[in-house]
Symmetry: C2
Subunit: 342 residues, 2 copies
Amino acid sequence: MARPPAPRGTRAPTLTDVARLAGVSVATASKALNGRNHVSAATRERVLEAAAQLSFSPNSLARGLLAGRTGTVGLLTSDLVGRFSLPILMGAEDAFGAGEMSVFLCDARGDAIRERHHVQALLSRRVDGLIVVGSSTDPRPPLAAAVDVPVVYAYAPSENPDDLSIVPDNVGAGRMAVEHLIACGRTRIAHISGDRGYSAARDRVTGALAALDDAGIALVGQVAYGTWEEGWGRAAASMLLDREPDVDAVLCGSDQVARGVLDTLRERGRRVPEDVAVMGFDDWKVMTTGARPQLTSVDMNLEELGRTAARALFEAIDAEHGRGVRTVQCRVVVRGSTAPEA
Amino acid sequence: MARPPAPRGTRAPTLTDVARLAGVSVATASKALNGRNHVSAATRERVLEAAAQLSFSPNSLARGLLAGRTGTVGLLTSDLVGRFSLPILMGAEDAFGAGEMSVFLCDARGDAIRERHHVQALLSRRVDGLIVVGSSTDPRPPLAAAVDVPVVYAYAPSENPDDLSIVPDNVGAGRMAVEHLIACGRTRIAHISGDRGYSAARDRVTGALAALDDAGIALVGQVAYGTWEEGWGRAAASMLLDREPDVDAVLCGSDQVARGVLDTLRERGRRVPEDVAVMGFDDWKVMTTGARPQLTSVDMNLEELGRTAARALFEAIDAEHGRGVRTVQCRVVVRGSTAPEA
DNA sequence: CGGCGTTCCGAAAAGGTTTTCGGAGGCTTT
DNA sequence: AAAGCCTCCGAAAACCTTTTCGGAACGCCG
């Protein structure tokens, strides 16, 4: 910050330069470039030509300073490394990028201090709004600082019900999964879940049990909680087969767990899907399409969630701020592990 | 853009407000807040208190307008969905976020039109520099528009050697991998690579062959090019075992390919690592640690690459612009698939 | 008491754009 | 011919911060 900016070529052309070249005042140049009226066609043409010749590009800072609106939003994520924030980020970037909005990306890495610092920086840059992306679906504390721009929470809802949160429908996902298995003719369904500490795991269980209840079917064995990893899937499947040899479907808490289950089933000589159907959650492509057979999974529609959050923020910027928790529907992606290839 | 900004609470406090509250002029308030001298301690204290009371946050737009430097950089990626851009992005965000820089994220999705549009938008926002992250390590055309801010290409180098590019050392990675296998006592080494269309695959082959050559060892069979997927790994391993039953190590073009190879080896009753050692590239945690046994891999250090790119851009902003291609070293992460557990 | 140096503060300009308002000129209407 | 309206353009203000420069107050010395 000590040194002055290095003189790199010549300074960017300003509206004044354009006006001078076109032989008009800056006011006229501005009007011509922005398509406002009260400018004759001939003059407008001259200005446009001058602007093109200088490859003029209006200074967004000056514009934002005057308009009180910058056309920027902040995307505050808790962990870029996690694989759930990425599709959401993509969806949001997608929805914004289509318009005239630019996105500031900040990674707080789960650190509250860092988060506060980033929020301050974003506010000082006068963003028009904020999207806060959580790293799990568990509720998170709202932003500490007082923010006078709209905030939308994505994936992890805010603990404050007055905030607007967009979350995936994990209960619905569990329900849809079981309904799919039942539709495939399965009646002896077990559930190997993920980490009990995550509401995503518990919600999916809730939905799954509800669907079983609706169908008048009992779960085979107990819900098995563990971790989100392949190793847990292998171990849990082994125990399951020992205790419940006649199981004909295993719903898994994640695609990774399902991969482990598939491994164990193969080793035990169970055919998938003929003997046992297997399903995962998240539809993580590299997991589902690399598996043998390919894995049926529930797509949580995270990219759509990101787009929804962006659109909600967009509305909140222009109009009134919504509140409450909104869910985004998910969908079953059917592959070979539940339905034999056609 | 039609509606005026919704009046959300009261407008953000400005330096004028702070000065008025503290009973000084804006100039004094500015000096006090920025820690410049020629302000008495008492006055400074009054100003700081007033600023805190109003929770004043200086308007970065106005500051940037004046300073000619905005403290923002643009991060232009070709495909957020790909998993290589993410760690780079993280590293860059990391290196920038530590200071006073904010990052604009743009996803061009491999579309040149969209890319140009984003570059224009970034320039109009007066970013101080740009990082262009490619989706593969193949050289890419330089930015179309004339940019008068420093640009650093990351992962994919620019086709123009006068640009500065930071890329992973794929040749070195191939070399290190083979050296590790040799160090593990393997002498009958095969290589199941990835997609021949990618320079990453070819470069790794180059490095691997060079290391074999140095050691006076011949590759077992031919280099097998295919895809980056698990299925290819399974198929290629099957063919390999048919033709070269006495192979004692398989170097795989990616972790995914390695997973497929592991699968086939298990089915064929070969023990890993006792009979055959297996290695992958990329060190994709979910692939390597979920495997049985856990997979030795070469970490391409992408996060470090992102940090390096950010630092290079930082230097280029302050001083002179570098040029040429710089590589970032990678490292072998040893796991059970090449070395028996201790 | 005058001169001088030091310390502190305020006025003003700069940065680039948008918008408002007034002015100038041309044309129509009475 | 005078009055009025419409079209087009330019001057200037506004947005907010930083920096420069001049001025004021004060203490100290001669």
